[in-house]
Amino acid sequence: MVSALLISVGAVSGISAFLALLMVIADATIANYGEVKITINKDKELDVKGGKPLLGTLMEEGIFIPSACGGRGSCGLCKVKVTEGAGQFLPTELPWLSEEERSNNIRLSCQLKVKNDMFIEIPEELFNVKEFRSRVSGLVDLTHDIKQVSLELIDPAEIEMVPGQFVQLQTPEYELTDEPVYRAYSVSSNTSDTRRIELEIRLVPNGICTTYVHNYLKEGDEVIFNGPYGDFHLRDTDREIIFIAGGSGMAPIKSILLGMVDENNPRRARYFFGARSKRDLFLTDKMKELEQKLPNFSFIPALSNPEPDDHWEGDTGLITDVVAEHMESGNNTEAYLCGSPGMIDACIKVLTDKGVPEELIYYDKFG
């Protein structure tokens, strides 16, 4: 009886152990891709461990390809040109790549696994993107739903960026989430101060990051972000400037204006700020200060739906109508817009009607 029991237990254990050993060996050999070399822009060489998607592998080496969905294959932002070593297109990549992209060897780096030596090409700006550890040094409520977050850099201690760019803030896993999530926010502080950045974050219902920032983040907490990203910046010309942005869209404009103060930029600039009612206005004092500091800048707030208690005496109406009223001609003018796609489309129409050439209208596309 006992011997039968021992034999049966022994046999099952033996078979299971043998199969488990087989799994371990397989994992170490078949599933192990060893060390491979990734060559970037025919110049930089990285020795990495194979087997993981290209996006994650590059991130571990300190190269941050833009991604909004955490490598799930749902946003299409992480495209990288792979000239050699990629293998066939995966079904999960195909929906994101046009015919042209496919013939140019563009791949979706979150789906493509690194299995052998690869040659890739990425834009030079991405080399400047780093991951930063920082500490919250200030939290200020600008309006009922916009919070100003000041971050003091820890490591690296300084960030090189141009006014108008944005960073990707990491929301760590907290009470309501299971994994970290990244969201993009424009920097609103003066970029000449390389040791800190300031962000304007509006609370979005059902938003993972904004709920974290508004309800959970405290002064002294550590925050991770990467950047800088973005192509939205002041062009170096003599033209007149028109800024149009409301709500948290003010952030990159404010950063650009502060940069203009530093260089005592003489260009004529007008900033049209659209909001619903008085409670959506903020930093008006700061804007008045800038009007004093800059030789030729005016801040023009417009309310589309002022409350009777506001006793509003400034411009009223839709921002597009206010801009149309104030603008004479679009000759020699550039425009910088920051807001929702609907607002941007409407403003582009007003500006082009007034004669601003479309290629001189710049807007931040991550909206």
Partner: protein, 197 residues
């Protein structure tokens, strides 16, 4: 019951007259859910054929070379499942290594197959009917093809069903099971043709 059957008869019997799904009612749950779409049905069907044919051979070896000599035939349920799970895991790793595309098409179904009772059923039938090694392989291959046939037929029918007006209470699983029953009745018509176990 030592079947004195010709291999080719066994093969066709496994596909039609003793269809593992329509005559023996095994492998129903993934059949019901995956048959919604033809493309995924093909992927799952091919994976089932491969795993059924391979595991019936493997389990034959384990049964006749290990369990019987040690007089542990009663442990076959546990041991067969362990072998099937390990095999599927290994195959998944190999496919992922060899071809990323094949992995995306087939490999993702492999974990789903491990718990498919038809896979275990084939191995158990092999024991009950005392098949030889070759017969086990043919029976496994045939059963897989039969399962594949059944799921393809169902996927095709469900495409047509999309335009039909079905009574509220019968939508989804209800109508699918009724149709499966009708298919089973149709396949019963084959039963007299090839007498095997």
């Amino acid at each position: 019951m030592n079947s004195a059957t010709i291999p080719i008869a066994l093969f066709f019997a496994a596909i039609f007259t003793n269809n593992i799904l329509l005559a023996n009612y095994l492998g129903m749950c993934s059949f019901l859910s995956v048959s919604r779409e033809i493309k995924t049905s093909v992927g799952l069907g091919v994976a089932v054929i491969f795993v059924m044919a391979s595991t019936s051979m493997l389990n034959w070896i384990v049964y006749y070379k290990i369990l019987i000599p040690l007089e542990l035939e009663y442990l076959r349920f546990i041991v067969f499942i362990i072998v099937i799970a390990a095999f599927v895991q290994l195959v998944e790793m190999i496919i992922e290594r060899v071809s990323e595309v094949l992995y995306a098409a087939l490999g993702i179904f492999l974990p789903l197959i491990t718990v498919n009772c038809a896979i275990l059923g084939v191995s158990l039938f092999m024991v009950i009917r005392e098949y030889s090694f070759l017969e086990s392989f043919i029976f496994g291959l045939g059963s897989g093809i039969g399962w594949f046939l059944a799921i393809m037929a169902m996927a095709g029918i469900r495409q047509k069903l999309k335009r039909a007006r079905i009574p509220h209470g019968l939508e989804g699983a209800g109508i699918t099971l009724i149709i499966t029953g009708m298919m089973a009745l149709a396949f019963m018509g084959f039963s007299g043709m090839l007498p095997i176990g």
